[in-house]
């Protein structure tokens, strides 16, 4: 490591400790493995792309043109604020600023994936460039209920119902919907490096409580074959480049070599006819800078992991059966592009597998092998910093849980026994568990 880099790492270490404000950038740090100036340059370039605002073509701002014709937001960070999670609007009239609604109709496409709605496609794009009507607005109407824990403490839960308004291309009947908040985007290169074989082994390992867990098999656009799914809340993307390219395409309307067509359905005439700049709108070089950036964002280090109460909480986490899905430790295999990510011990608290989480969390929108009740185990690394970095953002796929306790209480299906044990804990022990989760 040369001196400049040694200094960089020093600077970052300084920023990792210290007071609360410091932690706001805890999800934006490069892995220490980034050793050369060239790598840091690539990292910063990718970061620039993740933060840059895209503009409508034609534009003199050549490296950023091509927004839309239909889109949700004009930057990536809008939905991944500070590289953390998005938020569900609490007020049903407020617009979705960091989440989106996926759409489909029953059936599958040629590769077993979702069948997009014939008019609206596979995601509601609320906005359009001039001349192209945005598709409409999605609202969340909240229904409230209450659960009582065994020690008598009451917890209010809320559940969203999706409602559409201002639909510009006709009614949206018989459509499958799934509302999702943007997820945190650090640590992804390490998850990308976990072997398919490791995931298969995790899936077939025997587990208690009726916990199963299975691998999703999804289509690789680049390699034209089914592969193990890892990214997305239903593990419906095989690797980061495809996840990124599909975000560019679906969320911002930016074409890449992987998704070269504009995101217009045949019924969307204005969208089809809209003026466009040079294609693809994001070239391979910049796609790989984005990949490089997201792959090398470090998961934040744990805090106070050796304190006695934290250790007790950790013990409880394991005893309750949480760790059957939220697997604490994995070792990465060979990363396809970046050797520095290979064979690293990591603590993601996920198995990247799909689990039936019960009717309450179901979106009834299957995606490849994932059923309407199945979700990928959410990684819990960085969980404790979430409330510092994105205060008020909430938890779970649609941001419905306002606290970690609510998130746990929504666990059902395969996770029901674990949740019931949690509900049975005395308050002091629940607090120990929370202390552990905050240390992640």
């Amino acid at each position: 490591m040369n001196t400049r880099c040694a200094l960089l790492v020093l600077g970052l270490l300084l920023s990792a400790g210290g007071h609360a404000e410091v932690q706001r950038e805890a999800f934006a740090q490069p892995l220490p493995a980034l050793a050369s100036d060239a790598q840091l340059d690539q990292f910063f370039k990718g970061r620039g792309l993740f933060r840059q605002a895209w503009v409508i073509a034609p534009s003199a701002d050549e490296s950023a043109q091509g927004l839309g014709p239909l889109y949700n937001r004009i930057t990536c960070i809008a939905c991944h604020p500070r590289n953390g999670r998005g938020q569900a609007p609490g007020d049903s009239e407020a617009p979705m600023r960091s989440m989106l609604v996926r759409l489909s109709v029953p059936g599958t496409d040629a590769h077993g994936g979702v069948l997009p709605h014939p008019v609206y496609g596979d995601q509601l794009n609320e906005n359009g460039i001039p001349g192209v009507p945005g598709e409409g607005r999605a609202h969340l109407d909240w229904q409230y209920s209450e659960v009582t824990l065994d020690d008598g403490q009451r917890v209010e839960l809320r559940e969203p119902r999706i409602r559409f308004s201002e639909l510009a291309y006709g009614a949206l009947n018989d459509v499958q919907t799934s509302a999702r908040v943007g997820s945190a985007v650090f640590g992804l290169g390490l998850l990308e490096a976990v072997d398919a074989q490791t995931l298969q082994q995790l899936a077939s390992a025997p587990k208690a409580d009726g916990v199963a867990g299975r691998v999703n098999w999804v289509w690789s656009v680049e390699r034209q074959r089914l592969e193990v799914g890892r990214f997305g809340l239903k593990a419906n993307q095989p690797d980061l480049p495809q996840q990124i390219a599909s975000a560019l395409h679906g969320d911002l309307g930016i074409t890449t070599a992987l998704y070269p067509q504009q995101n217009c359905t045949p019924a969307q005439i204005e969208c089809q006819q809209a003026e466009r700049g040079p294609q693809p709108e994001l070239d391979a070089q910049r796609l790989s800078a984005l990949h490089f950036y997201l792959a090398h964002l470090a998961a934040p280090p744990r805090r106070k992991r050796d304190a006695a109460p934290i250790k007790q909480g950790e013990q409880l986490f394991s005893e309750l059966g949480c760790g059957q899905c939220h697997i604490p430790r994995l070792t990465t295999g060979q990363h396809p592009n970046y050797p520095a990510l290979s064979r690293q011990p990591i603590e993601p608290y996920t198995d990247l597998l799909l689990h039936d989480m019960g009717a309450g969390l179901a979106d009834h929108r299957p995606d490849y092998l994932a059923s309407g009740r199945e979700w990928r185990t959410a990684p819990l690394w960085g969980l404790g910093l979430s409330e510092v970095i994105t205060p008020g953002a909430g938890y779970l796929h649609d941001g419905r849980a306002r606290t970690v306790t609510e998130a746990i209480l929504w666990h059902d299906g395969e996770a029901r026994p674990a949740r019931e044990r949690f509900s049975a804990l005395p308050a002091a022990q629940r607090e120990l568990l929370m202390g552990f989760l905050r240390s992640l």
Partner: protein, 430 residues
């Protein structure tokens, strides 16, 4: 650039109008954090209006706003003073028509609105030095207080200089020095500084990264980029130089606005106490233009009105043409041949350290291709009226046009004088 079909635009505004009742189309170049905080706060305060953001870099906004119907834009809000001035001259703005009480008409030498109040500053950013205290300590160099301090030999190769051709705020940096020290001395300083700095080609956060990471010990920047790095715990500091300058961001309502009421509501909100207080958000960190608001901000928050009283902001913002000229001069004369310039200055410094008098060589590299008075000639300035001052290719436009010919001449001058400097050095065996 090709234009949007006006009927499509009409259709767009109609559909949006029918759908929501009045979307206010705001064109801006602010980063996501600023846009979303203001959009959200405005729609909470005024639920009857919806904002649609049309994002455009400063240099990219003019062609859009010059389209028929001004491209459907109701409000233009951006830290690009030149655009407001140019478009005002084309009668592109309507009178703001909002109450401006409590908002001073100027700060230091910087006017905060035009004489007819068609555009008004909404916030300020201050130019200055980002430094890494630890790196400065290692180099044994004190924190520079003003521009000439940047020529401290210990800082050689440790300064990050934003490339004026690429970085929007950099032209004003050039101009501050030229105003404060005069044309000749100012350019001599720029030549020598360029000759010992790293040119950084992308925006302000990159300069603060350069400095925070220790890749450079010092960088020329704007306060808010550095402030956000500081609040994120990065090891950087910011100094306003004795000769400082401010960049105002303005807001204006387009003459063709279809939603003047909504536009006015937005403008009023941005200028209100609530809107001005949002500027202090750690991720925005701009300087409010409403002096009253500083009272409710933390004591350590820089108070630009107080600094102005001390004379820090005597710099008065130049015309867009002048900034374009100054930028182009830098780019053609010092920026293009940056590597050679750097090598020559290195030899000069080495020679001087060995006791030689190299003032003749210095002169070759320091004398600008145009004199101060020639640079003020209206005919020359007029050539630059059409040249955006930043974000453009540094390549001369075309040798067929007077502007391109001028720029090529400056490049040629640069090559000649550098060759001369080289000859002199070689003759002295240096």
């Amino acid at each position: 650039m090709r234009r949007f079909k006006p009927w499509l635009l009409a259709l767009w505004s109609m559909s949006a109008l029918a759908a929501s009742g009045e979307p206010v189309v705001v064109m801006t170049s602010y980063p996501e954090e600023v846009m979303s905080r203001f959009e959200e706060a405005f729609s909470e305060a005024h639920p009857q209006w919806r904002v649609q953001i049309l994002w455009r870099q400063g240099y990219d906004a003019l062609p859009w706003l010059r389209q028929p119907e001004q491209g459907g834009v109701d409000v233009y809000w951006a830290p690009s003073p030149g655009n407001f001035e140019r478009l005002a001259a084309e009668n592109a703005w309507q009178p703001l028509g909002v109450d401006l009480r409590g908002l001073p008409a100027r700060i230091g030498a910087t006017p905060l609105r035009d004489a007819q109040a068609r555009y008004q500053a909404t916030e300020l950013a201050g130019y200055g030095f980002a430094s890494n205290p630890q790196r400065l300590l290692q180099l044994g160099a004190p924190t520079p207080k003003d521009w000439p301090d940047l020529l401290d030999p210990r800082l050689r190769e440790h300064i990050a200089l934003p490339d004026p051709a690429r970085v929007g705020y950099a032209p004003v940096l050039l101009d501050i020095v030229l105003q404060a020290y005069g044309w000749e001395r100012g350019w001599a300083l720029w030549s020598e500084l360029a000759g010992r700095a790293r040119l950084v080609s992308r925006g302000g956060s990159l300069v603060s990264d350069e400095v925070a990471s220790g890749r450079s010990a010092l960088g020329l920047s704007i306060d808010f980029f550095v402030a956000s790095a500081i609040s994120n715990g990065q090891p950087v500091r910011f100094t306003y130089p004795v000769h400082g300058g401010l960049n105002p961001a303005h807001i204006a309502i387009s003459a063709a606005s279809k939603h003047p009421d909504g536009a006015r509501a937005f403008v009023r909100f941005v200028l209100s106490e609530a809107g001005q207080r949002l500027l202090a958000d750690p991720e925005i960190r701009k300087l409010p233009v409403r002096p009253d608001v500083y009272r409710s901000l933390p004591a350590h928050y820089p108070n630009s009105f107080r600094s102005a009283q001390r004379g820090t902001f005597a710099y008065h913002n130049s015309s867009a043409e002048r900034l374009a000229l100054v930028t182009s001069l830098f780019v053609q004369w010092l920026g293009q041949p940056h590597e050679r310039l750097n090598a020559l200055w290195q030899r000069i410094h080495a020679g001087e350290a060995a006791g030689h008098d190299l003032s003749a060589v210095r002169a070759c590299l320091s004398e600008p291709p145009v004199s101060a008075s020639a640079a003020e000639a209206p005919a020359l300035l007029a050539l630059f009226a059409a040249r955006p001052s930043a974000g453009m290719d540094s390549v001369p436009t075309s040798e067929q046009e007077p502007l391109g010919q001028q720029e090529i001449a400056w490049q040629f001058y640069s090559a000649q004088r550098q060759a001369e400097a080289q000859r002199l050095l070689e003759a002295m065996g240096l």
